[in-house]
Symmetry: C2
Subunit: 644 residues, 2 copies
């Protein structure tokens, strides 16, 4: 069998002839990014063959002269020869704020969003009961007596109890004279016994709310006894190495073993976050008896190991929209093995449970007749428009830029992220604020928005995002045809290296904002409305504590509307997920919302491409759509001062 040696690490692996190089690298534990999901289009998995025989199909993606030097795409190269030596370029490392693993979190959900009136009925209920002692006369089994206690409380119902719990009953009901705490899930006249514990453990009732994003995964541990959040942690989805957006992941998952790999990766991410929280707070995982998981349709298919292929193919059909309850053991989530997991229902192939959860935090979930727009800015951008009478929704692929992905010095809204930036008109140098007031490590979504808006308003970049070559600043470095901007110089950064943003990065950000804005526009056109008809615009996303909405408007991410119409609601998906975990009322409401939404497939809307192309400027090719921004720019031209 061919023996591959990876440089510079020196790691070796033997593989059968014909094995794909990318697969061999994964097996050897070597990280090679493949943002396009191994489709051979992004060119990011480029490696150099130093020795040995391979069969590669990289030409067309890589230029002739590069291929001549032995460079190939790892995803398009099969190993043939006996001893193959491969150089893996260093630029693929996990350094520099690019998907760096870190899970501190400052974006706690805000309870303000929580409606005042709601019924507390968490998914899993714990209650203390006294079981009658066994008697020879009645001939009742231990389970019979347990069942009697349950029916005494819940009335006639079918009782289900899995083997591991059945095995505990006999000892548990004898340990403290029959005094036990039962954990149950009650659903449609069925009672599922999750746990039995001797004595009173009612106060130990925890649940998890999980938001699985394409780029970022957030886990919230909830103390169900009081309905309080114990902790929130988030981290990059470990799947990012296998593709940056949902389409790339679907492509990556074409082979069954890769679907399984993606499943394991997202499970590893979720379980790591759970472990961090329970370890920190000294919580027994057996007391975590329920969970609600929200995510886009593709993410949930990957988490469950369901083939996502048909989501991508016309007519865009997911395997499942309303996922049945599943046990934690079945899914692979490391909490109580019998714990029940509820999955937020999906609307369509690209509008999933994260949106039906997020909408719960808005007036769209009330009986308001006013028109609202809900925009969830993530790697997939999703939009919902409507009121209590109708709802229309669609999704667009924005890419992971606002979450730090695909941006050289990008990072999530975590400790050390630049979240605010103001550019000096004269010097072109930026003044920044970093999360946690520590030395900057990189720039997060809200920081990028603020920076771009400021660079644009001060004229350091033009409407296409290119630096003004006629203005000189120590912060702007022009190298040949490309320019980049030093946000924080090496002397002030955490890593001791410049924190920069390149024109290519800016292009990525503009593409992201264009995708979202144009989708909003298209949706409005579909219902024959304009932005002016909206009474509230909700902006959700993992931007951290704050998002400067005015700056988002300056770059054309959100429409030019009066400031008071906007509400930034943070990670609404996680918030909604928490609400569903806490109250059956929300669970029912969410299902109702999911069924009510009409899903618009952008893939079949030819007008979308035109809208998108028009939005690939700051703020837009048609500046008249953004009168406030126009006024700001005009005022700047007249006075040389920045409009405040």
């Amino acid at each position: 069998m061919p023996l591959i040696t990876f440089k510079p690490s020196g790691i070796k692996i033997e593989v059968p002839p014909g094995t794909e190089l990318l697969e061999a690298a994964r097996k050897a534990g070597i990280s090679i990014d493949s943002p396009c999901g191994g489709k051979g289009t992004c060119g990011k998995c480029m490696v150099q063959i130093l020795a040995g025989n391979v069969d590669s199909d990289s030409l067309g993606v890589l230029p002739q002269n590069v291929v001549a030097e032995g460079y190939v795409l790892a995803c398009k190269t099969k190993v043939l020869g006996d001893a193959v030596v491969v150089e893996v370029p260093e630029q693929l490392g996990r350094e520099g704020g690019k998907f760096t693993k870190t899970s501190e979190d400052f974006s706690l959900v805000s309870k303000e969003l929580f409606p005042e009136k709601w019924e507390y009925e968490p998914l899993a209920i714990k209650w203390l009961v006294k079981i009658l002692p066994p008697q020879i006369e009645d001939g009742m089994s231990d389970f019979d007596r347990l069942a009697k206690a349950i029916r005494g409380q819940w009335g006639e119902c079918q009782i289900t109890c899995k083997l591991p719990v059945l095995r505990m009953i006999a000892d548990t009901i004898r340990e403290k004279d029959g005094l036990i705490t039962i954990t149950i899930i009650y659903d449609s006249a069925r009672c599922y016994v999750i746990n039995v514990q001797a004595g009173d453990t009612t106060a130990k009732n925890y649940g998890i709310a999980v938001d699985v994003g394409t780029t970022t995964v957030a886990v919230e541990l909830v103390y169900l006894f009081l309905g309080e959040v114990v902790a929130v942690r988030s981290e990059y989805n470990e799947q990012v190495e296998c593709g940056l957006d949902v389409i790339s992941r679907i492509n990556y998952a074409k082979k069954p073993e890769r679907l399984e790999e993606l499943r394991r990766r997202v499970l590893a991410t979720i379980n790591r976050l759970i472990k961090q929280i329970v370890d920190t707070h000294d919580i027994d995982i057996n007391d975590v008896s329920s969970g609600v998981i929200s995510g886009n349709t593709t993410m949930m298919h990957l988490l469950l190991g369901l083939k996502p292929e048909y989501i991508r193919l016309d007519p865009y059909t997911p395997t499942i929209k309303e996922t049945p309850f599943m046990s934690a053991a079945e899914v692979g989530i490391n909490i109580n093995r019998q714990a029940w997991l509820y999955f937020s229902p999906h609307v369509g192939s690209y509008v999933g449970g994260d949106i039906t959860a997020g909408v719960l935090c808005t007036d769209l979930a009330t009986d308001s007749k006013e028109m609202s727009l809900f925009i969830d800015i993530g790697t997939n951008g999703e939009i919902v428009i409507g009121n209590s009478e109708f709802m229309l929704t669609c999704a667009c692929s924005a890419g992971p830029a606002f979450e730090g992905g695909g941006i050289e010095c990008g990072m999530r809204a975590a400790l050390g992220a630049i979240e605010k930036a103001e550019v000096d008109l004269e010097t072109g140098v930026a003044t920044c604020e970093n999360i946690g007031n520590v030395k900057a490590k990189g720039i997060c979504g809200s920081g990028m928005i603020a920076l771009l808006a400021s660079l644009y308003l001060t004229g350091w970049i033009d409407e296409s995002g290119k630096f003004n070559r006629s203005k000189k600043s120590k912060a702007v470095i022009v190298e040949g045809r490309f320019a980049k901007y030093v946000i924080v110089p090496a002397s002030e950064s955490a890593s001791g290296k410049d924190i920069t943003i390149s024109e290519m990065d800016i292009e990525n950000i503009i593409r992201a904002k264009a995708a979202i804005y144009s989708a909003c526009n298209l949706m409005l056109e579909q219902v024959g409305m304009t932005f002016e008809d909206l009474s509230t615009v909700y902006i959700a996303g993992g931007f951290g504590r704050s998002l400067d909405l005015e700056k988002a408007m300056v770059i054309g991410l959100i429409p030019d509307l009066p400031r008071e119409k906007f509400k930034y609601i943070g990670n609404a998906s996680l918030m909604g997920t928490y609400m569903v975990l806490l109250s059956k009322e929300y669970r029912e409401k969410q299902l109702e919302l999911a069924r009510k939404m009409t899903y618009l497939e952008l893939n079949t809307a030819p007008a979308y491409m035109d809208q998108y192309t028009g939005a690939l400027f700051l703020p837009h090719t048609d500046i008249n759509l953004f009168p406030t921004v126009k006024k700001m720019k005009d005022k700047f031209s007249q006075t040389g001062k920045i409009y405040k």
Copy 2:
């Protein structure tokens, strides 16, 4: 760590100091019988310490002089020293018909028992359906379309589908243009999807009926499409090495790892039998989608890994009587992992699902007012008395003698078993009939009964089962205080060794029959009746094709009643299990019967011991209870001829 060497095999194993010798032997894969379940009472696990330091507590069970020679009980000995050498006596081998592994079976259930009118509704149903193609307009997921098809057939119901099945849906419904076969279990307005297969596979629908006895396990594979039995196989329960009766097993299971060992052993037995059948008949295990399992309460607790301890302790409380449905994967049965298993309901701690299944084959399950007695002769003997208005039941520990256990040359009713034997009045030599007409391998229960009856009637043994020392025969060998009888001489046996029965064996058989007869008697007394009040006596048990009821009466196993009142119904438990698998009607009937039966605990009935002692003779200390037998003996005394 101490290193133990087992002789004569030479197998070595390292164990932590303090490890019990019996446990070390098991870990090393060495078979040492412990019929009492490791309680230190039977003395059967005796081994000799040839070298090394051990801590043993065998005195009291083993005589002083034996202990002085280094003999110890493996279950009462802890390993201390560094190098321990242990001699394992050969007599413990698996040879000589003693629990020999063999699974041919000649005791097929007879369809005669099957009532004429019954509704065919098997546990798992397969049906062919056409799934609508996906359409972008309706936004239905694959699962939605599957659910629509199911509800179209079964009406509004909750649909449950486990992950492995969900994962198959997308591809399956696309493979043959939406034509699929769905396998479901329908129960209380819930529909459980067990399998989805492309195209028409409705004809491939199999189920298993399993009877788990203390000594013998039988598996029947049923072709549900036609309700026909494909094959039946039986084998000794692999647990027999860990104790011969339920009490010994419960004792053995005191340590959690031993409970787990017992669980694995019985699962291994069941799965081996299943594999033999599906391999022979070339059946895909994924087409085996349902199963019904019956067994006594302890066996079912052990199969499910439920602690059986409380069954043995006053007030004799099992963990469960009506076991909920479980998946095959959960239990560990190697059929379709999603297959549903139904467990026959138990009545009490020692009357289990094998009895509620068995009773289904009798008039006790009809609306007859006539009084019936049902006797299931197994290692545990169970008795049911009653009619359509009431039912009383109890259990007694008969021991495994009738199944060949604890009898030197005993074996199950399998190929080569002596099933009939007639002793010559003059020569004392037996003429035998063997199952399959091959050379004899050993003697099974029906053979023992025939042999004992004949030896007794011809005066070769007396009423206490001892050989008449004054009569000489080449078949009777007297060695010191003990005598044994050569049933088949070495020259005619399969192994080339004598097939014998000793006085100790006969004692075991008498104890077994006494336990059953006295339990019947006690039950009748409880309801104020005599044997004469019975209109039918059903005899069930694994005696093979036939049981000579007259001979059973001669030895006092069954009461002296007119021959036409008896019905031998073979393995009624397996037959009833098959009926439950095939028809929901029987499932409901069985549950009704289980709930109707009043359970009498013999442990708390002081009269039982007296009854039992009285029955420890052939046929009984009070010969007047057996007038027919008395007449036979009298006639023999007068004429010297055997009564026919």
